[in-house]
Every structure is written in structure tokens, then in C-alpha cells.
């Protein structure tokens, strides 16, 4: 069965997106990305060293990677816009993950500034994927502004705490007619599977893989979990019940009536 994710006109096979921060070295990062089979990879422009090839993390990415530069470090819309433009001018393509953080304590995204940045960048031809705090009204504005997908956080970035925002993400999945990609907070493969079962279009993982004792093995585990969660979603899982359904203690008497009448 063909089940591709379509974002900004591109077909994506893998629903696991990878982040590139926190790795001990770029060769390891490269192996991990291969093991994850991720096609969409996000890189912080602030960390890309265009000068030296061996220090340029872009040269360690598989050739068919869809590069998604992010605006890490931006504190407002203006800085995010500036970073996006610099990335495109530097040859990083026209995808951009907007990340506006004006709070270094919790690193929670600023939805208001993010919406402003989307409005400008979409007009300039960028495929914009905003990282956001899951809020339905903000997500609607982002969709109206032309975002190609919505990337709500599962928990504060880097916390590995799982899908703490489950109820809110569920609402976005139901109400927003764009791919919903759970970004940040996913700490275990089971949590990635949970997001996918819920109907997320993809998940983005970094810390949980980069800081594992064996990042390559963890990347494989995530790849499998994302695939399993997706299949579960597509197959339409039976609804869960709080009680066993062996009989109908309250309405069983009606059956007698039915059999009497036949």
C-alpha cells in the first residue's frame, strides 16, 4: 500500500524526521540518520559552518536528504525571517522550520511571532513548517498564513517526557487540514508510536536518539516504532473499552423478546 506523506509538493516516504543537534560527532550523526531511514533532516543554521568541509555538517547528510534548516536562536519574527533567508541564500533549499523562542528557561515556542514569520516567508516562496505550542487557534492562523505542516511539541524540547500534550495534539489532528508533525519531547519509541497511532503525520526526534548510549540502535527502534504506529493508525484500531463485553447485563432481557417474535 502506498502511503506517502506530501509536504509542500514533495513526497516523503519516512515519517520519522531527524534533528542533528547534540551528537558527539558528525560521522556518528551520519550513521544514525542512515539507520533511521529519515529523509527530512533539520539543521540549525547557527551551527552550520559553511567555511570548512569537515566541519560542515551538511556534507555528512545522505545525498537524498530533504534539508529543513531551522531558525534556532531566533527570538522574534524578524530574526527568524533573517535566518530563513540566509539559509536559502547559502543553498539550503526553500524548506524552513520556524523556531522562535523568547524564553530560554523552558524553550517554549512563541506562537505569535511564529505566525508573523510564516506570513512573510510563505509570500517569499518558502515551504514553512512552524514549531509551535499546541493551540488550535494559533494552528488555524498558521494554516491560513500558508504553513505546509504544523509541528506541535509533545513536551518541552529536550525533556524526553513523551506526548504530554496528547489531548491538544489530538485536537489539531482532528481540526487542521495539514500534516501534524509532533516535534520535541518524544523520549521513547513507544511514545513515537503513540503519536503516530493518534494520527500524527510524522514525528521529529533528536535528543532521544542523539543522547542514547547506542544512537544507531535507538534510531532503528524509532524507525520501527513510527512505522508500527502509522500502520496501526491506518488499520483503524478497535475502540478501547473500560469493561469486558461478554454479555449485556442491562439489556439482555431484550434478546428474549427478539427470539420470541421470530
Amino acid at each position: 500500500m502506498e502511503d506517502k506523506l506530501n509536504i509542500g509538493g514533495r513526497q516523503v516516504d519516512s515519517r520519522l524526521f531527524m534533528g542533528t543537534g547534540k551528537f558527539a560527532d558528525y560521522r556518528l550523526m551520519s550513521e544514525v540518520i542512515k539507520a533511521s531511514k529519515a529523509q527530512v533532516v533539520t539543521v540549525a543554521l547557527r551551527r552550520v559552518d559553511f567555511g570548512a568541509p569537515e566541519e560542515n555538517m551538511l556534507s555528512y547528510l545522505p545525498p537524498d536528504t530533504i534539508l529543513m534548516p531551522n531558525t534556532s536562536g531566533a527570538r522574534n519574527a524578524a530574526e527568524a525571517i533573517r535566518i530563513a533567508r540566509i539559509a536559502r541564500e547559502a543553498g539550503c533549499g526553500n524548506w524552513v522550520k520556524i523556531e522562535v523562542v523568547s524564553d530560554q528557561k523552558y524553550l517554549l515556542p512563541d506562537n505569535f511571532e511564529t505566525i508573523k514569520a510564516i506570513e512573510v516567508l510563505v509570500k517569499e516562496g518558502f515551504v514553512v513548517l512552524p514549531y509551535m505550542s499546541p493551540d488550535l487557534m494559533a494552528a488555524k492562523r498558521m494554516a491560513e498564513a500558508g504553513a505546509a505542516a504544523i509541528m506541535p511539541l509533545g513536551a518541552p524540547i529536550g525533556t524526553n517526557r513523551g506526548l504530554k500534550t496528547r489531548e491538544l495534539v489530538q485536537i489539531l489532528i482532528s481540526e487542521i487540514d495539514l500534516p501534524i508533525i509532533v516535534d520535541a519531547g518524544i523520549g521513547r519509541p513507544s511514545e513515537a508510536a503513540e503519536a503516530m497511532e493518534l494520527g500524527a503525520a510524522a514525528v521529529l526526534v533528536n535528543t532521544a536518539i542523539a543522547t542514547a548510549d547506542n544512537p544507531v540502535l535507538m534510531a532503528e527502534a524509532f524507525a520501527q516504532a513510527v512505522e508500527a504506529g502509522r500502520k496501526a493508525f491506518l488499520s483503524g484500531p478497535g475502540s478501547t473499552q473500560r469493561f469486558a463485553q461478554a454479555s449485556s447485563p442491562l439489556t439482555g432481557f431484550l434478546r428474549n423478546e427478539e427470539s420470541a417474535s421470530t
Partner: protein
């Protein structure tokens, strides 16, 4: 309201007594928390906590890994000028010291920039003594214009400025401020700064806030360890850091732990800080402020620096010289203090990599 007002409140405490009063159970309870209060931070700096260093280290290591990953950002200092009108009794650049005074010409700044840039480093910290005559803001701006061609991030460690002056330098391409209060205890501060504009304790203390109002990207503060009682100095520096993070949530805040080093002149630290004390300070700071950067410079010896990487440090200097023109020809110039880790940048990078960490040469991109 500034941090000075909070400090006035904070210093109504007899810290020596407070630290002695901490019980082992207060230390364990601080260690078990995910969000620490000032009282927990104080407990972790107490003598009782020093017997739980390994437990603290495990927690600090986990937190650092979680928030910063296996990365260490590298930078190097570039001394522009050693003219100084202050009389800081512990400093090699003390205006009374009979050392050769000079400042780099712009072509010399460019030579230094080229030499540093060849090592691969992209973050530079520029320093001057305090002399508005020899190293005015206009001169620093000219230097920044030269340096921007070579570096992706330029920070300043110079005399405290007004908000407008910080804004001017930010517009010129400066993105980070480093300023150490030197010693938070105001009486000690007065004693160690007998002359020059630096006598103004409060103007220095509030400098990070002025830079914050000018919307600087990153602020790094610290206390010069050895000048005062380290437990209370680290406590107050940590409270300063927390205040800045609360007041300017968009700013990347970090803290340095510079220990006094031998320098020209005969000052010797009154309160020497041992390796063990330094480690306890780093760990307590990490647990109190999980997302703040922690910087260790080449003041510390190579072997110790290598061991500190796992404990919470996120940023290190490398290939440092504290002399004017020290990256090209330092032989005729006396530095501000002696460097301990003299390894070249390449070797530091290799060692960090061997320890399983990524030496990060670029962590910011000039947006101007």
C-alpha cells in the same frame, strides 16, 4: 528595580552560618528535586554536600547531556588593548603596574583575526582594559568591523557601558557580553578596587541588565574565584544568573568560574579555591540552572578541564593568549594573567572528540 535591590536583600544573611546549618537531608532533598529553589542551591554549595559530589555529578551529567547533548562550544579571547586606569589589586593590567602598554592597530587586529581564524574557531571574545581615552567605544566598533569578516560570533569583555553604547556595539555586530562582578561582597569589592571608575560597584553589577535592555543575544557573568568566600560568591553569582534569566528570558545566559591565576604583581588570593570546591560549584550551578551555559577557560590546567567536560561545562576557551597581539607575536608583551592550558586549538579539539564530545566551532550566525 535591578539585581542590586535583590542583592541588598540577599546580603542580609550570615552565609557562613547558613552553610553550616545545612543538614544531610536538605542536601538529599535538593538532589531529588527537578526544579531547585535558592534554598536547595545553597544546600548543594554547603560543606555537607561535598560528601555527595559523585551523586551530584551523576545528576549534573545527565541534565547537561539532556539539554546540551555531547557538545562543547569553543572560543578564544583576543586582547585589543591593555591601557587601564583602574587599580584592581589582583590584576596584571593594574594602571600602577609598570608594563608595556599598547593597543592593536586595525591592521594588527586583522592579523590576529587571520591567525585565530586559521585554527577554525568562529567565536571570539574581545577584551580591553578600561580606558575611554585609548580604547573608546568607537575604537571597539572599528575592531568589530574588521573581525566580522572572520568570525560568526563576537563577544565583548570590556569596561561597563551605558545602554546606548551597548546598543551601538550590538548594531555594529557584537552579540555577546561577558562581564564578571569579580567579587559580589561589596566590602571586599571596595577594598580590591581602590581607584578608577571600577570603584562603582553598582554600575558594574547592573551592566548585564543594560546590555539586556539593548537586546544583546547572550550574557555571561561570573565571580573571580579567590577574591571572596567561594560558597557565598557562587551562591550570589547563581542568584544573579537566575535574576537575569527571569528578567530577560530571551537571552542566552551563562556563567564562568574563573579561578585566580598568577599575574604580574604580588597579589595572592585570600581565599584559594581547590579543584574540589570548583567541581562542587559547577555541579551546584548546573543543578540549579539546568539550561544555563557554563564556561571554563584556559585558566584551568588541561587535565582538569578534560575531566570537567562531563560535569556540566558547555563552553571552553582554547588557544588562548592574554597578551596584546598574543595570537601573532606575544613575546614582547606581558599578559593579564598566566594561561594554564597551553594546548593549541587542534589538540583541544582532538581531546574533546576523544572524550566523546563534539567541539562546536560555530554556534551562532551573524544576522546583521
Amino acid at each position: 528595580m535591578t539585581f542590586y535591590d535583590e542583592l541588598v536583600r540577599l546580603r542580609n544573611t550570615d552565609y557562613a552560618a547558613e552553610f553550616e546549618r545545612v543538614t544531610p537531608s536538605q542536601v538529599s532533598s535538593a538532589l531529588a528535586k527537578t526544579e531547585l529553589q535558592p534554598q536547595d542551591f545553597l544546600a548543594l554549595l554547603s560543606p555537607k554536600a561535598s560528601s555527595l559530589l559523585e551523586e551530584m555529578a551523576q545528576a549534573a551529567h545527565r541534565l547537561t547531556l539532556q539539554h546540551f547533548g555531547r557538545t562543547i562550544v569553543l572560543y578564544t579571547p583576543l586582547y585589543l588593548s591593555n591601557y587601564c586606569i583602574n587599580h584592581c589589586v589582583y590584576c596584571g593590567f593594574n594602571s600602577a603596574n609598570p608594563i608595556l602598554r599598547r593597543k592593536l592597530t586595525l591592521p594588527e587586529v586583522e592579523l590576529e583575526a587571520k591567525a585565530i581564524s586559521q585554527t577554525g574557531l568562529q567565536h571570539v571574545l574581545i577584551l580591553t582594559g578600561e580606558s575611554r581615552q585609548h580604547s573608546p567605544v568607537s575604537y571597539i566598533k572599528e575592531c568589530v568591523a574588521v573581525l566580522r569578516k572572520y568570525f560568526s560570533s563576537i563577544s565583548i569583555e570590556i569596561y561597563p557601558l551605558s545602554t546606548e553604547e551597548y546598543a551601538e556595539l550590538i548594531a555594529a555586530g557584537v552579540d555577546g557580553l561577558t562581564i564578571y562582578q569579580e567579587v559580589y561582597d561589596e566590602k571586599t569589592y571596595s577594598r580590591l578596587h581602590p581607584g578608577g571608575p571600577k570603584r562603582d560597584y553598582r554600575f558594574r553589577l547592573e551592566a548585564p541588565e543594560r546590555a539586556g535592555q539593548a537586546r544583546i543575544r547572550a550574557i555571561n557573568i561570573g565571580a573571580l574565584l579567590g577574591l571572596g568566600q567561594w560558597r557565598s560568591e557562587i551562591f550570589l553569582a547563581g542568584m544573579h544568573l537566575a535574576y537575569l534569566q527571569e528578567t530577560f528570558p530571551e537571552i542566552e545566559s551563562s556563567i564562568s568560574l574563573p579561578r585566580m591565576r598568577p599575574q604580574f604583581g604580588d597579589y595572592r588570593p585570600e581565599f584559594p579555591v581547590s579543584d574540589r570546591d570548583l567541581v562542587q560549584s559547577i555541579l551546584a550551578l548546573r543543578l540549579f540552572m539546568p539550561r544555563a551555559g557554563i564556561t571554563i577557560s584556559t585558566r584551568e590546567r588541561a587535565e582538569l578541564r578534560d575531566n570537567l567536560i562531563q560535569l556540566g561545562v558547555t563552553k571552553m576557551s582554547a588557544g588562548s593568549s592574554t597578551a596584546i597581539g598574543g595570537h601573532t607575536n606575544a613575546k614582547d608583551s606581558i599578559g593579564q594573567f598566566e594561561i594554564s592550558d597551553k594546548r593549541p586549538v587542534d589538540e583541544v579539539r582532538q581531546t574533546i572528540a576523544n572524550l566523546g564530545y563534539k567541539p562546536v566551532l560555530k554556534d551562532w550566525h551573524d544576522l546583521n
